[in-house]
């Protein structure tokens, strides 16, 4: 896919430094960053289903050009956090913000108009539609000419899809489906892309390909990317910053490299321990 690098349609935003950027801080190369609002943020977010709280006071920030990974053991509330941001789970307290504007509880279609894209963990494509139709639906808000132009740009990112435009997505492999899902989400050139376990069900080889060639590249080209990933080490190797979620709370929040090297990581994943609040903050 690297051959298509020059053709990539992502906005020419300054990419952040890969390390040393604390979560919640604007990306930059060590210089004090301009005080711009994060592309996506949560402030003291409390959320869940019915009366049950799953997310308990989560603060998170994602800036343009930044890849923020949310990792944690099973049942930590990672997917619920995304669903709360996307208006799919009930927000009971706190706020969700996009560019400083409160968007708590907004419907997905309204978020799409605001430039927030989403790729769910499973059921992330329209199985009974062709690849070309999946892309057309991704560009639903665009005019016909703009949609065709954008599809060309997206196909330049994912050349393997070009030969499969007439295939029904339901007949394709897991990797091809994931590629279609991300391509579909890119059709609106979202400023923020939220990915829920994009490597779920993929082989180790495909996991690397998806994370490095697709997810990391999105952030490098200026998108604000919020990634929830069960394969924590693979995600942490590529992310700028990371938040470790345990029992609905942020147990650790630091540059991804620090989180990866932290001896507490294994303990959190194996024992589900929640460190004292702020103890592991960068």
């Amino acid at each position: 896919m690297s051959s298509a690098e020059d053709a990539r349609p992502w906005p020419a935003r300054a990419a952040p430094a890969r390390a040393g950027t604390a979560p919640g801080q604007p990306a930059g190369s060590g210089q004090p960053a301009a005080p711009s609002a994060p592309a996506l943020a949560t402030e003291g977010l409390v959320a869940g289903y019915g009366d049950v709280e799953v997310i308990r006071g989560v603060d998170l920030q994602v800036h343009a050009g930044q890849l923020v990974a949310v990792v944690g053991p099973n049942g930590a509330g990672k997917s619920t956090l995304l669903k709360a941001i996307l208006g799919l789970a009930r927000v009971m307290g706190g706020r969700v913000l996009a560019d400083g504007r409160e968007i708590s509880g907004w419907r997905l279609d309204r978020l799409a108009r605001l430039g927030i894209g989403y790729v769910p963990q499973t059921d992330d494509v329209f199985d009974s539609l062709r690849v070309s139709e999946n892309l057309a639906m991704g560009g639903y808000l665009l005019g016909k000419a703009q949609r065709a132009e954008r599809a060309e740009q997206v196909l330049a990112i994912f050349p393997p899809l070009r030969d499969k435009l007439h295939r029904y997505v339901g007949t394709m492999s897991g990797g091809e489906r994931k590629m279609t899902a991300i391509a579909r989400a890119l059709m609106l050139a979202p400023r923020v892309l939220i990915l829920d376990e994009p490597t779920a069900g993929l082989s180790a080889e495909l996991t690397d390909a998806v994370l490095t060639e697709q997810v990391r590249a999105l952030a490098d080209h200026g998108h604000a990317v919020l990634l929830v990933e069960q394969k924590a080490r693979a995600a942490l190797r590529l992310a700028d910053t990371a938040a470790v979620l345990v029992q609905g709370r942020v147990a650790m929040s630091a540059p991804a490299g620090e989180v990866l090297a932290s001896p507490e990581m294994a303990e959190i994943f194996l024992g589900g321990r929640v460190p004292e609040k702020g103890a592991a903050q960068a």
Binding site: L86, L88, R107, L108, D109, L111, A112, R113, G117, Y118, P120, D123, D124, V125, F126, D127, S128, L129, E133, A136, M137, G138, G139, Y140, L141, G170, R184, A185, M187, L188
Partner: protein, 296 residues
């Protein structure tokens, strides 16, 4: 051989009406995940509206168009005013089905209260007979077949060639992802209920035209054939419902010709059971709608 061809003709005419109704029923289910049993009562309402219009001297085909438009609006209102709020409040699949059964019964008895429970008739609407290659059709049967073919073609073009149609299919396949694309799935669903309501209305009048006499049970009785056609074709699949309607119509008419009309329903449903044993998700099996039905 002559009997076979003639009964095939009757089967095609009967299948056209079943298909007209079944396509609307299955598209409605595919897009909104609601098994709308009120559909049968709305067909009855269309048949009675047609009867009232005929009484006022309106041409039968104009009456069909007017009834289709009226039922389209009634269907959209039913979704907007009753079904969608229930779904938003978290009412389960079975709960919604029960509500549609109840709404259907209320509509039926409203019709009885206004028009009475006696059987009624559209009179002689069959027209002259046309024969060729062994087939014998009445002109009204040919018009109904032509309307069904035209509607299916229009629906095919809508679903495959327009952004609205693709959005309807996308909403049916995956409503969450559809919303993430910026599709207002509630509006798409409203439009789907409007369009399928029109099909329901047209099918109601077509059924009344092809029936000698009918009463307030005409729609709910016919609903079972439409459900059979929809399930046979693969629930949620419009092309499946077209084929399913044709199969149910042809099998029941051919069986009636060779045995007794009393057994025609049994043969049609025997085919349904046989197909489902071989292909549990129907002839045009596709994931989303069938999975949703299974989960329910």
């Amino acid at each position: 051989m002559r009997l076979l061809i003639e009964s095939l003709g009757f089967g095609i005419a009967s299948g056209a009406i079943i298909a007209l109704g079944a396509v609307g029923f299955t598209v409605q289910f595919g897009i909104s995940n609601v098994l709308n049993i009120t559909y049968g009562a709305l067909m009855t309402l269309a048949a009675y509206l047609g009867y009232a219009l005929l009484g006022a001297g309106v041409n039968v085909w104009v009456a069909m168009a007017v009834a289709a438009a009226a039922i389209a609006i009634a269907s959209a209102l039913l979704n907007r005013g009753l079904i969608a709020p229930l779904v938003r409040r978290g009412t389960g699949f079975v709960g919604v089905v029960i509500v549609t059964v109840s709404a259907g019964i209320i509509i039926q008895y409203c019709i009885v209260a206004i028009a009475g429970a006696d059987t009624i008739s559209y009179g002689q609407q069959a027209g002259s007979t046309v024969s060729g290659a062994g087939f014998v059709f009445t002109t009204s049967q040919l018009v109904i077949i032509a309307i069904t073919v035209a509607v299916m073609l229009a629906l095919h073009l809508l679903l495959t060639r327009t952004q609205l149609g693709r959005a309807m299919r996308a909403t049916s396949a995956n409503p969450v992802v559809a919303r993430s694309c910026g599709i207002r799935t509630d509006r798409v669903t409203d439009l789907a209920w409007l369009i399928t309501g029109a099909l329901c209305g047209a099918a109601g009048v077509a059924l009344a035209i092809s029936t000698v006499t009918f009463d307030f049970t005409i729609g709910p009785t016919f609903l079972i054939y439409m459900i059979a056609a929809a399930v046979l074709g693969g629930i949620g699949q419009p092309y499946g419902a077209m084929l399913g309607g044709l199969v149910v119509g042809v099998v029941s008419q051919v069986a009636a010709a060779y045995t007794s009309p009393a057994y025609q329903d049994a043969y049609a449903f025997a085919v349904l059971v046989l197909v489902l044993m071989l292909r549990p998700r129907g002839l045009f099996a596709s994931g989303a709608a069938a999975r949703r039905l299974t989960r329910a």
